[in-house]
């Protein structure tokens, strides 16, 4: 198999584009896809202050590398979730990456700064680890993004397509109305952008390897209940039979579907009695999780 551009031996095949690339031209291809996404969806400009959520995984580290390569100055924030070795290893890899490239990295430590870990929280709530983890990450990232023009997220094509499928399977119209490459800032919530949505998961992994990026390869020990991962596995079967179907599904939705689910009148957001962040209730979901996780006995007694 040979590179579409230079005809040298190919390192990566992209079946949905009916193409293969050598290492250099693959890296260039991915960077171009990201640049085009940033441009097409008017995600940000060269003077914007950008904060990237980094996990130590391939997607966020590859994206940090790509954005830096494209000339953007991007700070990173790592959320230490207290998931044993998985968290500490991912942190080391993230710190190494940032140090080698002289990038600014901030670490938010859930156990130290907020008094609980994801495993602790999961044990004290009636919900899955991933759901507690997801809402905690959204809260902490939004909080960290104060003062920045945009919060940049490393979600790739497969993440977004699987999330879309999950929302369609449940006809979760509210979430469908909010799934977009760019989420504009609203009162108390940072602008969110996803520059990797045109790059498939296999391609971000290949990019990371070809760029010599050391990332966390092992899985989160709590991943078993992760519905997005299960949906991804199902979708990869469809993709194997008809390459390109994932991208058609996602971008067809952005172009022709999403408009039908646009959120009408926004629900009034109040502020959380405990932390002041925007919420529809009295106390926000994160503060409720935190409360139960840090006072498990009192909750059980009441």
């Amino acid at each position: 198999m040979n590179c579409r551009v230079c005809k040298q031996r190919a390192a990566v095949e992209i079946r949905r584009h009916n193409a293969a690339f050598c290492p250099d031209h693959f890296v260039e291809h991915v960077q171009r896809q990201v640049a085009r996404t940033i441009h097409d969806y008017e995600m940000f400009g060269p003077d914007d202050r950008l904060l990237l959520g980094v996990s130590g995984g391939k997607d966020s580290l590859a994206l940090w590398d790509i954005l830096t390569g494209l000339g953007y100055a991007v700070d990173g924030v790592y959320l230490h979730l207290g998931i044993g070795e998985y968290s500490s290893e991912s942190l080391i890899l993230t710190e190494q990456f940032a140090a080698e490239r002289d990038l600014a990295l901030r670490v938010v430590d859930l156990p130290v700064d907020y008094g609980f870990s994801i495993p602790q929280a999961a044990a004290t709530q009636g919900r899955s680890a991933c759901s507690v983890c997801g809402l905690s990450k959204r809260y902490l990232l939004n909080d960290a993004a104060a003062g920045y023009d945009a919060l940049v997220m490393g979600h790739n094509l497969d993440d977004e397509a699987a999330t879309l499928l999950g929302n369609v399977l449940k006809w979760n119209t509210e979430y469908l109305g909010r799934q977009a490459p760019v989420l504009p800032a609203v009162e108390g919530l940072a602008r969110k952008v996803k520059p990797l949505i045109r790059v498939a998961e296999r391609e971000t992994a290949a990019y990371a390897v070809l760029r010599g990026i050391e990332y966390e390869v092992e899985e989160c020990p709590m991943v078993a209940g992760n519905t997005i991962n299960r949906l991804k596995e199902r979708m990869s079967v469809l993709e194997a039979n008809s390459p390109g179907v994932k991208q058609q599904f996602l971008f067809g939705f952005f172009e022709r579907g999403a408009g039908h689910f646009e959120v009408g009148e926004k629900t009034e957001l109040g502020s959380c009695r405990s932390c002041g962040s925007p919420t529809t209730g009295d106390v926000c979901a994160f503060c409720r999780v935190r409360d139960r996780a840090t006072h498990p006995l009192e909750v059980r007694e009441s």
Binding site: A11, A20, G57, D59, Y86, G154, A205, V217, V223
Partner: protein, 65 residues
């Protein structure tokens, strides 16, 4: 050849040489689900692997995020 698998990390030995496509079929692995890594090289389905190679089959779905 030595084949390194992940999630969790483990090793198996496969009689080589082979073609990546056949190696993956032999191990019952969907080609799109892994990167085939030899040293700091990525291999495609049509590449040849030798008996004395060490090959890592690295899943592309990251467990977590």
């Amino acid at each position: 050849m030595k084949v390194v698998l992940r999630h969790p990390r483990r090793e198996v030995v496969v009689e080589g040489p082979s073609i990546v496509r056949d190696l993956l079929a032999h191990l019952d692995i969907v080609p799109e689900s892994v990167l085939v890594i030899r040293g700091n090289e990525l291999l495609t389905r049509s590449d040849k692997v030798e008996d004395d190679d060490t090959i890592e089959l690295r899943p592309v779905i990251s467990g977590g995020m």
